[in-house]
């Protein structure tokens, strides 16, 4: 448990979600262990001890999101508490796919009081604590500290998307106040610059399983390092003859070593039962297009945010966009040869699953930058022989979406 806590504390710092050294985790088997063994009088310890006493859990994380995440969560938490019907209690309901599927909503409480934090954590996997002028996030696991890390990371991502999407929506509605616009300018200044240097990825085509695995591991690691996916989401695959090598469900793209499943396309083995929940979509793409060899799926933030933006504010399907939108939508940049469709679809294989929408959208694209965005979810890109073009498209589309987002906000008077 100590090893796992150290690992996830380091990941939170490395991805910029938390300041180095700030993460406090604890794990309980029959004795409590802390990620920071020395008690320096940190008031979080007392709260965490009370949470362990009040819940059936095995791991707990309590930390301050850093930088832009801290700023957007403070704004959202204040708004949630103001909108809440119960004093000191509110909830954030981001519209992104991962939140809808796995977190549902994010409880917000207005103090570090043990009772109220326990009450929130008994309802959901994590909660936002507005403690004076700063926000902390508490998240727990019943199996591993990894769950707490995943929830924390997902909450940060969800709040980032929720804040920027909400700002653009308010701009479209004409309901931005000067205070909001001022906060937006302050938050915008906190955004780190995009990286524009492409990684030196292995050239394909790859003809052996070992070579393909090496390429998958490398591309996955860079996708995380470039901030194009959060926590353990995203997936990646490579077609090798009649076998698809694909990341396992719940695997971190930067730790794919032993987490790649070889799946025979004829279905003659079920060993891929642990494969990504998007295996069906990947397979459909490969079946439809013989020349496609690589698929990369990340959750670049502004691609997701832009997919949530729609001019049809009076659409009768509002609220059902993630699964019922039938309006042809796309992110387009004629000057850059970019035409990325946006399609609805939920995670996996249900009747509204993206396996029903994504493959046709992705294989319907052409040119050098081939990708498709799933509404509120993320971006899938295609590579002809390796991950170089897929990665470049992932990065290029995200850069364009970020720039396009601020263009739209400016056009609508949002800054």
């Amino acid at each position: 448990m100590n090893t796992l806590m150290a690992k996830y504390a380091a990941k939170l710092s490395a991805t910029g979600l938390c300041a180095p050294g700030d993460v406090l985790m604890a794990a309980l088997d029959d004795e409590l262990a802390w990620s920071q063994p020395t008690d320096t009088g940190d008031p979080r310890r007392k709260l965490m001890g009370a949470v362990f006493a009040g819940m059936n859990i095995s791991a707990l994380l309590l930390a301050r999101p850093a930088g832009v995440y801290q700023a957007v969560m403070v704004e959202l938490a204040r708004q949630a508490l103001a909108d809440g019907t119960t004093s000191g209690w509110g909830s954030i309901t981001p519209g992104d796919c991962e939140t809808r599927t796995f977190l549902h909503d994010l409880p917000v409480v207005d103090s570090m009081g043990a009772d109220v934090v326990i009450q929130a954590l008994r309802q959901r996997k994590g909660c936002v604590i507005l403690n004076g002028d700063e926000v902390l996030v508490a998240a727990f696991g019943t199996v591993s500290p990894e769950q707490a890390y995943v929830t924390f990371s997902s909450m940060c991502f969800a709040c980032f998307v929720a804040y920027f999407a909400d700002h653009l929506l308010r701009a479209r509605q004409g309901s931005l106040t000067p205070e909001r616009q001022a906060a937006f300018e302050r938050i915008k200044a906190l955004l780190p610059e995009d990286r524009d240097d492409l990684p030196d990825l292995l050239p394909g085509p790859f003809e052996s399983e070992d070579a393909a695995r090496e390429a998958l591991i490398q591309a996955g690691r860079h996708t995380v390092e470039y901030g194009l996916v959060d926590s353990y989401f995203g997936n990646i695959s490579y077609r090798l003859g009649d076998t698809i090598l694909i990341s396992q469900t719940g695997s971190s793209l930067d730790e794919l070593g032993a987490c790649i499943d070889p799946c025979r396309m004829d279905g003659s083995s079920c060993a891929g039962i642990t494969a990504s929940s998007e295996y069906s979509a990947h397979k459909a793409v490969y079946e439809a297009e013989d020349n496609a060899r690589a698929i990369l799926h990340g959750h670049p933030r502004f691609s997701v945010i832009l997919s949530l933006d729609c001019e049809r504010l009076d659409c009768p399907k509002l609220g059902e966009c993630h699964r019922a939108c039938d309006t042809p939508r796309a992110v387009t940049d004629p000057s850059g040869g970019l035409g990325v469709p946006i399609v609805p679809g939920e995670v996996g294989t249900g009747p509204f699953g993206l396996c029903n929408t994504l493959p046709a959208a992705l294989t319907g694209t052409s040119g050098e930058k081939r990708g498709a965005i799933v509404y509120g979810h993320g971006l899938f890109t295609l590579g002809a022989v390796d991950f170089r073009d897929a990665f470049a498209t992932l990065m290029g589309v995200e850069h364009f979406c970020r720039a396009e987002y601020f263009r739209r906000v400016a056009r609508l008077g949002g800054e």
Partner: protein, 604 residues
Amino acid sequence: MAGPRLFGWAGKILRVDLGAKTQDVLRLPESVYRDYLGGKGLGGYLLRDHATLPPGHPDLPLVIAVGPLNATIAPTSGRCHLTTRSPLTGAVADSSAGGRLGTELARAGWDAIVIVGRAERPTGIEIDDEAVRVVDASALTGLDTHEVFARLRERRKGGSIAATGPAAESGCLFASLIVDTHHAAGRCGLGSVAGGKNLKYLAVRGTGRRKVADLPGLKTAREDILRLTAASPVLLGQHGFSCFGTGSIFDLMDSRRMMPTDNFRRTRFPGAEGLNAYAYKQRYQPRRHGCQGCHVLCKKIAADGRSMPEFETMSHFTALIGNTDLELVLKANDLCNRLGLDTISAGSTLACHREISGQDLTGERVLELLTGMGTGVGPGAELGLALAKGSANYAASMGRPELSMSVKGLELPAYDPRGAYGMALAYATSARGGCHLRAYPISHEILRKPVATDRFSFSGKARIVKIAEDANACVDSLIACKFLFFAASLEEYARAFSSVTGVAATTHDLLVIGERVDYQERLMNARNGFSAKDDDLPARFFNEEGTSGPGLPIPPVPREDFLAARSAYYRIRGLTPDGLPTRETAERLGLPWPSGLASGEVGR
């Protein structure tokens, strides 16, 4: 008492005394429903005052209970739960059963049926809403379950039927109850207890509806659950349960080198690749079938109408006994269902016999011995009747008790514990004995849900197993299917429960109920003499290696680490170092202390 305005629950329990030929209605305080929910919890509550009665005693109750979610739109809420004391193990016996029985019972307006007494002759219980008839079933004596279903269906259309087969009449200690032809309450000898009461079948038809407090809230919870299952490769993915049945795990057990082979002497079976779920699907062209209220439809039925084998049956009737013939597996599975034999115990007991005798089993011999186990007739009768006492009794009678691969006398399923240490601990601590479903660590150790854990480590596993046991006890009380929890969690089901009943509850509240339900069983087991000596694995797993592969060593389970994890589990569970309940924990959970049981002492 539970009033008529209750949401979710019916508020009444049917008690049938087959010996006295009487029936009455029990109405329990509403607090009992809130504290025990239904299903497993309610079953234990109704059993606990009689838990020390010998398994053959007429007054020992056989409880069939549903929960507040049954007959609602909560996903997978069609199951029911059976509870009694096991004739095979002497421990608490319980089993979840699929099909339609749970739904029909709930719609008929009953929270549970408590069956006591012994009828003079074979008997059926027929329930049509509030009307209850105890009928002579002598004409069904000796018939296999398929024949029973066919006869009964001639005059009873619709509804659900649970029936015993010849195994329950011939004294097999691991006889099962078969529900709606294709589903089983398989383990622990529940069918044997029914047979001991001369109960041949139970038929239930319900036309009512359960009252739901907050239907929109329930619809939201349902949608959240369905969305999670759609995101689950295990449940609805191309390689998952919906497409291939539970047998889809078979390939993974092979590649992870944890397929019990030759009575657990090895952990890899040569040729397993050709015996996987895909091979069955190609050969038998099965169709999907499922329990009432389930969208996963993990049950598969062959084109010729036979039930396809579940994963454990696929594995135990191939690797465990040295068979490579798919058709033999189909035949054995079909025979077990007809005779009413638990396939896990039957397969494992055959493997035990094979190792002791040193003689391989031909397909013909396998079927002879199963027939002998289930009927006591035919060329396999003499040996079959000895095997029908279970592997522990059989191995002991042969002077080789160490070759029964069981815990508490219940044969182990098809996950070798050398390949998953959480599973090793969970086998040992399971209240009903060698069972994978009480904590199901395979979920995280193999299937990566909710996140992956190190399968070759005991680190953290004591608390994980305890929490999972509590959660699953709650799931079996609500009722839902444990498979759904590869995807959903009590977080979503707490919302469903609150919406149905109007009782505010969080995940934590449900886990406390699960803890109470689990501890209730440990109190009963302690009264029947169970302690740490029974919470252990066969010595083989600590002394013999599995079948290692390149870069994948399968060493014996480290004994010291196992014992340390078990000790940690006892502390977390609130048991003594000898695995016994304490008054302090019982009091904390609101459980009455059984008379005659000293705190921390084994009962008699």
